[in-house]
């Protein structure tokens, strides 16, 4: 019983953490939270099922296509929903433009793919039982992404440039960094990460359009609680969330579990609006 709760909790927590990292990478590049992060996760599952189960492509090809699709959607998000509103002084507009884009994609998927959850293919032809691939695939994806991002930020020029943009856009621009291209690349990277989350978690969550609002909400909680801008914070918070959710499911049942998650979320946020690991904001007068 305990081991089931822990293993599933960690696995699903890794999916939430990855969506949280998607939010964070987008935020670092643009100071904007995009509603499309959860939709990327949903697309990872749906497109994975489409390419591999429906079209019959091999798993590796399917994965590459899914990552490419995620990156493309990330780029589309930046060009259509983020770049135009960054120019305006009105902070609220980005919430609306990314919300609109996310809704459009979700509805399109619901109509074309169907509103039922459809099966996600088994990626490796190994027997079930014990520590199944449903469980370790999301964990593997999470580790790969976190380690990969660390290496990127620490050892590559592009990674340093990302950090510079995140730290201080004006200074970065003054240094001559190509801000727009970097932002575009960040969004593409975030898109790929989000799609990977959905792909790795596909067997557990199934290829279902309703995963979009689910991941939008549960993927944001690690960001809010772990402190924005912190990938590690998002990862830890994601794992804790997954464990908490599975434990709550078990202890109080389905309906009250979501009430429990939400209540804890809002209470923590009210006490510490900047998250458990974040820094307070400076005013700009």
């Amino acid at each position: 019983m305990i081991e089931s709760i822990v293993s599933t909790g960690v696995a699903i927590g890794c999916i939430y953490a990855l969506i949280g990292i998607t939010y964070t990478v987008m935020f670092s590049a643009s100071r904007v939270f995009s509603f499309t992060a959860g939709t990327l996760g949903m697309l990872g599952g749906v497109l994975g099922a489409l390419f591999i189960a429906h079209f019959g492509l091999p798993v590796a090809a399917g994965l590459v296509l899914v990552l490419a699709a995620g990156a493309s959607f990330g780029i589309v998000t930046e060009i259509v929903a983020v770049r135009p509103v960054l120019r305006s002084l009105d902070q609220h507009l980005y919430v609306l433009s990314t919300l609109a884009l996310a809704l459009m994609v979700q509805q399109f998927t619901a109509i074309e793919w169907g509103t039922d959850a459809r099966p996600f293919p088994r990626l490796f032809d190994i027997d079930r039982g014990g520590f199944d691939q449903q469980l370790w695939l999301p964990m593997l994806a999470c580790i790969v992404v976190i380690v990969g991002l660390e290496l990127l930020y620490r050892y590559t020029l592009m990674g340093h440039a990302f950090l510079a943009i995140a730290e201080d856009t004006y200074a970065a621009r003054a240094l001559g960094l190509p801000e727009r291209r970097l932002r575009l690349t960040s969004y593409a990277l975030a898109g790929a990460i989000g799609a990977l989350a959905g792909f790795a978690g596909g067997e557990m969550l199934l290829a279902f359009f309703g995963n979009a609002p689910l991941l939008t909400f549960y993927g944001f909680i690690p960001v809010a609680l772990g402190g924005m801008g912190s990938n590690r914070g998002a990862a830890v918070a994601g794992l804790l969330l997954g464990l908490f959710q599975q434990a709550a499911n078990f202890l109080v049942g389905g309906i009250f579990a979501s009430v429990a998650v939400f209540t804890v979320f809002i209470l923590v946020l009210l006490v510490r609006p900047e998250g458990l690991a974040g820094a307070s904001l400076q005013r700009r007068v």
Binding site: A81, D90, L99, L103, Q107, S258, L270, V285
Partner: protein
């Protein structure tokens, strides 16, 4: 000769104002007539759709104040519709309490809705935009889950029958008139708020929060009022919805519905009543026109939202804003009338001096101000100059309460000013302008200036809601005072123009007019001459001198030494957070260190 013309201006503006008011009311009157006459030409089916549009508008009218005016991204407001629907239904069904008459149930639902509106909305004060949006979505999910789980009360999945209102509202057309009447009342009430100091204060919080604080507007109190109102009408809409559906189950309260309400406001345009009203009607009626469209309706709403946000952020309201399409004069001059200041500012207040003693403040490792002494006396213009980064704006922010000094004292007339209380400064008659003009772009120049006088209004929120006499007196007073202020700074011809059409220099003078609404004992100006032409700088100087002569203590932070030396009685020069020199303009002009560090030549 000058005076009579100036006196003529306000009353002419009043006549124009009432002509404007009639043309603004025309669309509403047309809709009212259409709605009353509807049964004559609409069949029973369209009657149902019209009733539904009325019910939705009851909710959206309240939500409009939250989303359109206050700018809060409350996406999950369907939670309150659900709450109101279930409360009304359960109370009339009599399975928990003895069966209550439907009207009473509706009133109780409104009260509960108000309370929960407040609970749902309060996180907005602590959380940032996106976070708040997500929490409202979470709330909507929670309420539906509770409705499902609490089977003994709500009937769980099987639901509960909706209330039936007694005759004459029990027939379809009777019920239509009931909902239409409530919709009309909500339109009237929210239009009253929109045209009140509360409505303007909300837009200030939305678009120029810093300026709102400086004008004394208390965000928590105002948001609380709006959330309570919005929650209450949403719950009433819920009761009507339950009656329209005859039977409610949790699956009728989808997030799609919430998104519809939200998008109706955005499509209609923020800060407008007519726009969201038309938006709601549009979004309710649209799916009924083409069956294949029905499945795609949410997709189309979202696409419409994207187009609006990218292309016409002002929505339908912007499209209908014919007044602001008329071209402005191309060569406009700002000609202040300093002689009006005596009438505007009244007799000089009895305030003593505003003093800073050995004030110090550092940010992280940077010492922004280090041991600063400053004294601003009423009736004098005091200049504060220095190179970039010398601490000028920081000093201003300390005086106006945005930062608290780590050492030293800031006092008014001997009494220390409370720390971190920037929204109390207005009550102490300390007004300021900003380095970058903080203006509500979507509002008119006149409305922007009226924001400055918000704290002088006496009517409560409820009085404004119901357009009671005290509210009307407030409005007349604020309108006349603002026109006077605009005439004094020389912008009266631009009063009805939308502020984002103005030139930079005109925005600066607008800010001054707004600050003057407070009849300030002290006026703090942050680089008011930046971006002004030489001619305009001269006029600005004359205006500031006249303001001081009327008894106000003026502090001017500036980069233009000529202006400073022309108008100031005393000048303080800052460098690296410390006073480099202080004295009369002549003393400073020849001060060797000042010349070396700053003035050059």
């Amino acid at each position: 000769m000058e005076m009579p013309a100036a006196q003529l201006q306000p009353s002419r503006a009043n006549v124009l104002g009432s002509a404007c008011a009639w043309s603004a009311a025309l669309p509403f009157l047309a809709l009212l007539a259409l709605g009353i006459a509807f049964p004559l030409f609409g069949g029973g089916y369209w009657g149902l759709i019209a009733t539904r549009a009325c019910v939705y508008w009851v909710l959206v009218s309240g939500l409009n104040l939250v989303v359109g005016f206050a700018g809060q991204i409350a996406i999950g407001w369907v939670a309150l519709l659900t709450l109101g629907a279930y409360t009304t239904s359960v109370l009339t069904a009599g399975n928990v309490t003895p069966a209550l008459p439907p009207y009473l149930a509706l009133v109780i639902a409104a009260v509960i809705g108000g309370v929960f509106g407040l609970i749902l909305g309060l996180p907005a004060l602590r959380l940032r935009t996106f976070y708040f949006a997500i929490t409202t979505v979470g709330f909507a999910t929670i309420v539906t889950q509770v409705a499902l789980a609490w089977q003994s009360v709500t009937g769980g999945g099987v639901g509960v029958a909706g209330p039936i209102f007694p005759p004459p509202f029990s027939s379809p057309w009777g019920f239509y008139y009931f909902c239409f009447g409530l919709a009309a009342i909500c339109t009237w009430m929210t239009a009253n708020v929109a045209a009140s100091r509360f409505g303007r204060a909300l837009t200030a919080i939305r678009d120029a929060e810093v300026a709102a604080e400086a004008s004394g507007i208390s965000k928590p109190a105002l948001l609380a009022a709006v959330f309570v109102f919005s929650g209450a009408v949403a719950a009433v809409a819920g009761g009507l919805f339950a009656s329209l559906q005859s039977y409610i189950t949790p699956d009728a309260f989808t997030l799609d519905l919430s998104v519809l309400f939200f998008i109706a406001i955005l499509i209609g345009g923020r800060g407008s009543i007519l726009g969201p009203l038309l938006g709601t009607i549009l979004l309710t009626v649209l799916p009924e026109f083409a069956a294949p469209l029905v499945a795609w309706s949410t997709f189309l709403y979202a696409a419409l939202l994207l187009v609006i946000v990218l292309a016409i952020p002002g929505g339908i309201a912007e499209i209908l804003d014919f007044k602001n399409r008329r071209p402005l004069e191309s060569h406009r001059a700002i000609i202040p009338r300093p002689e009006l200041l005596a009438r505007l500012l009244g007799s000089p207040p009895d305030a003593g001096a505003l003093t800073l003693e050995q004030v110090a403040l550092s940010f992280g490792g940077v010492q922004a101000i280090d041991g600063l002494d400053l004294e601003i006396r009423p009736g004098q213009v005091h200049g504060l100059i220095g190179p970039n980064g010398s601490g000028k704006t920081t000093t201003l922010n300390v005086i106006s309460g945005y930062y608290a000094p780590q050492r030293g004292k800031v006092s008014l007339n001997g009494a220390a000013l409370p720390l971190f209380s920037r929204h109390r400064r207005a009550h102490m008659r300390i007004a300021r302008t900003f380095q970058t003009p903080r203006i509500v772009g979507a509002a008119s120049v006149l409305e922007n200036v009226m924001i400055g006088g918000t704290i002088d209004g006496a009517a409560t929120f409820v009085e404004s809601l119901l357009s009671l006499p005290r509210h009307r007196r407030d409005e007349a007073m604020l309108h006349d005072t603002a026109m006077l202020a605009l005439t004094a700074v020389g912008l009266e011809r631009l009063a009805p123009v939308r502020a984002d059409r103005l030139q930079h220099s005109e925005l600066r003078f607008t800010e001054i007019a707004r600050a003057l609404m407070l009849r300030p004992a002290f006026l703090l100006l942050d680089e008011p001459a930046a971006g002004l032409s030489a001619e305009e700088i001269a006029r600005l100087g004359a205006l500031l001198v006249a303001i001081a002569r009327a008894g106000t203590g003026v502090l001017v932070v500036e980069h233009h030494p000529d202006l400073i030396f022309d108008i100031c009685h005393r000048v303080t020069v800052l460098n690296l957070g410390r006073t480099l020199a202080a004295g009369t303009p002549d003393e400073i002009r020849s001060h060797r260190e000042v010349v070396n560090a700053y003035l050059g030549g």
